[in-house]
C-alpha cells in the first residue's frame, strides 16, 4: 500500500465541478511540467542553435515588422515615441496569441493516443501548449527591454500595470485554447476555420498601427476584439501613457475576456470526460 491513500473516487460519468477539477489539476501538476519540458526538448533537439531559437524567432519577427510598418508603410513618423517600440507592443502579444491559438487547438487531437490510454485532467494538454508559447512571449519582452535601451527610452510609472495586461492575455489565450481544443475534437471544421480567422484577425487588431487610425464611429465595435484593449493597454503601460488611458477598449476587453473565459471553462468541463467517445 502506498503511504498516502487518496480519498475514495467515484466514477459515475457526471462532469467534474470547478473545485474537484482544481484538486485534480494540483494532483497531476507534474504532468504539466513534463509536457512543457518535452515540448521544449523536442522542438529544439537536433537543431544547431537549440534553445537560442527562443530568442531568434521574436528577434527576426520584430526586425521584419519594424521594416514593414515603419519603413515601407511609413506609418506615424510623427510620434514622439520611437516607432519600432510602438510596433513591438503590438507584435509581441499578437505573435503569442496567433501561435498559442492553433497550438492549443490541435493539442487534444494530437494527444488522442494518450487520452485513450490513461487519465489525467485533459486541460493540462492545451495549457501546456499555451505555456510553451508563453515562454517565447516572456523572452520577447526581454528583447523589448533591450530595444528600450537602444532607443534610450525609459517607460513611466504606468509600467506597474504591465503584468496585469500580460496576465489578461495569458488568461485569454488559455481559455480560448481550452475551448478550441475540445471544439476541434468534436468538429474538425474548427481546424480549417481558425487559421483563416487568424489571418483576418491580424488586420482587425492594432498590431502595425494604433487604435487612433480607426475612425471614431467604428472604435467601439472594433474594441470588441479583446486584443484591442490588451495591446492598447500594453502600449499605455510601457510607452509613457501614449495618448491617454484607453478606458473603453480596456473595459470592453476585460468583459469579452471574462465572458469567453467562463463559457470556455464551462464547456470544457462539460465535455472533458466524453472526449474519447466524441473523437
Amino acid at each position: 500500500m502506498s503511504e498516502n491513500r487518496p480519498p475514495t473516487l467515484i466514477i459515475d460519468g457526471s462532469p467534474p465541478t470547478w473545485r474537484s477539477y482544481r484538486r485534480e489539476l494540483r494532483a497531476f501538476h507534474e504532468v504539466l511540467r513534463m509536457l512543457i519540458r518535452r515540448d521544449l526538448i523536442v522542438r529544439f533537439r537536433q537543431t544547431y542553435f537549440g534553445l537560442a531559437w527562443l530568442l531568434f524567432k521574436p528577434l527576426m519577427l520584430m526586425a521584419v515588422m519594424s521594416f514593414a510598418f515603419g519603413f515601407l508603410a511609413g506609418f506615424e513618423k510623427s510620434h514622439a515615441t520611437p516607432y519600432p517600440l510602438i510596433i513591438f507592443c503590438g507584435v509581441i502579444p499578437w505573435y503569442f496569441f496567433s501561435n498559442s491559438v492553433p497550438d492549443s487547438m490541435n493539442s487534444l487531437l494530437g494527444h488522442m493516443h494518450i487520452i485513450q490510454k490513461t487519465y489525467f485532467p485533459r486541460a493540462i494538454i492545451p495549457i501546456a501548449a499555451v505555456a510553451v508559447d508563453a515562454i517565447e512571449f516572456a523572452i520577447a519582452w526581454l528583447l523589448f527591454a533591450l530595444g528600450c535601451i537602444w532607443f534610450g527610452y525609459l517607460p513611466g510609472w504606468q509600467i506597474v500595470f504591465f503584468p496585469l495586461f500580460c496576465l489578461q492575455l495569458l488568461v485569454l489565450c488559455t481559455t480560448i485554447g481550452l475551448w478550441l481544443s475540445v471544439a476541434n475534437v468534436q468538429f474538425r471544421d474548427i481546424g480549417n476555420l481558425i487559421p483563416f480567422m487568424l489571418t483576418t484577425g491580424f488586420f482587425l487588431t492594432p498590431v502595425g498601427y494604433t487604435l487612433m487610425r480607426i475612425p471614431e464611429q467604428w472604435q467601439l465595435v472594433y474594441a470588441l476584439n479583446p486584443l484591442v484593449g490588451i495591446i492598447e493597454g500594453l502600449r499605455w503601460s510601457l510607452l509613457n501613457g501614449m495618448e491617454g488611458f484607453p478606458l473603453v477598449p480596456v473595459i470592453l476587453s476585460l468583459a469579452t475576456t471574462l465572458a469567453s473565459g467562463l463559457i470556455a471553462v464551462h464547456h470544457f468541463l462539460a465535455v472533458e470526460s466524453d472526449l474519447v467517445d466524441l473523437a
Binding site: 509536457l35 487520452i115 487519465y119 462539460a270
Partner: protein, 252 residues
C-alpha cells in the same frame, strides 16, 4: 483486512451506432454555426443503440487479482477503460479506494525523440507518480528494464524489445494500490514475461490489487485469485479462480 477497493455497481455503457452526439445547446449552436442549414441532421432519432456493458456488478478486495475473461467484444476492455477514467459510464457507478495505475498499454506518452531517461519521468508522471518517487525508484526501473547503456539515447533508436521493457519497467515500479492491466503482460521475450509475472505476484502478495484482462488461461491461473466471465456486455459468471468457471469457459 479484506476491504473492497473496487466496487462496480450496475455499470452500463451505451454507444449509439449512428454516431450522434449528446444533445447540448452549445454543441447544437456550434454545429449550426459550422454547417449552415445542417441543424436538422442532428435531430434524427433513428439511431441504433448498442450496450457495450449492461448492469455489471463486480468487486475487488485488497490484495485480490480479478481476471476478466470473455470473447472479443464482450466488454472486458470497456470495463477497464471506465475504471481508468478514459471513458465515462452511461449509468451506474464505480467506487475506487486507493491510487490507480492504468496499464492499458505500456509506454503511454513515450515520445520517440526523448531519451530513455526523459521518457521514464514523463511516463511516470502520466501514471500519477511524483518526480520524487520516480527518482527513488529510478535505479530499480533501469535495472529491471536492462537498458542501462542506452538510457541517454532517444527511444526512437531502441529495438522494440528494449522499448517495451523500459515501458513495462516504469509501470511495474509505480507506487500504487490498484493496477489495471489490459493484455500488457505479453511483452518481451519469454524470460522477460516471466520476470513481469513474478514482479506482479510480489506486488499482489504485498497488498496491491489488480484487475486484468487476458486471453491466456495459464497467465490467469498463475496470477489471479478471482475470475469474471463477461458475455455480450453482461456479467455471466464470477467466482474464485479454483471454481470451475475457467474449465467451462475453455470448453465453450
Amino acid at each position: 483486512m479484506n476491504d473492497i477497493v473496487i466496487d462496480i455497481a450496475n455499470l452500463s455503457k451505451r454507444y449509439s451506432l449512428s454516431h450522434q452526439h449528446r444533445p447540448d445547446s452549445l454543441k447544437a449552436w456550434l454545429r449550426a454555426m459550422m454547417r449552415p442549414g445542417g441543424i436538422k441532421l442532428g435531430d434524427q432519432s433513428t439511431e441504433e443503440e448498442f450496450w457495450a456493458l449492461k448492469d455489471v456488478n463486480l468487486q475487488v478486495r485488497e490484495g485480490e487479482c480479478l481476471a476478466l475473461i470473455g470473447k472479443n467484444g464482450s466488454g472486458k476492455s470497456t470495463v477497464l477503460k471506465v475504471l481508468a477514467r478514459v471513458i465515462p459510464p452511461t449509468s451506474g457507478r464505480v467506487r475506487v479506494r486507493g491510487r490507480v495505475a492504468s496499464l492499458l498499454e505500456v509506454g503511454t506518452g513515450f515520445h520517440p525523440e526523448l531519451t530513455g531517461r526523459e521518457n521514464i519521468f514523463l511516463n511516470g508522471a502520466m501514471l500519477g507518480c511524483r518526480e520524487r518517487e520516480i527518482r527513488r525508484r529510478f535505479d530499480a526501473m533501469v535495472e529491471f528494464s536492462g537498458v542501462e547503456r542506452f538510457l541517454d539515447t532517444p527511444v526512437k533508436h531502441y529495438s522494440s524489445g528494449m522499448y517495451v521493457r523500459l515501458a513495462y519497467a516504469v509501470a511495474a515500479h509505480v507506487d500504487t494500490d490498484i493496477l489495471i492491466i489490459d493484455e500488457v503482460l505479453a511483452v518481451g521475450d519469454a524470460e522477460f514475461q516471466k520476470k513481469c509475472q513474478n514482479h506482479l505476484r510480489t506486488a499482489l502478495a504485498a497488498g496491491t490489487s489488480a484487475i486484468v484482462v487476458s486471453h491466456s488461461i495459464p497467465t490467469i491461473k498463475t496470477l489471479s485469485s478471482h475470475v469474471a466471465w463477461l458475455r455480450e456486455g453482461r456479467l455471466y459468471e464470477a467466482g474464485p479462480i479454483d471454481s470451475d468457471i475457467l474449465q467451462r469457459y475453455a470448453a465453450c
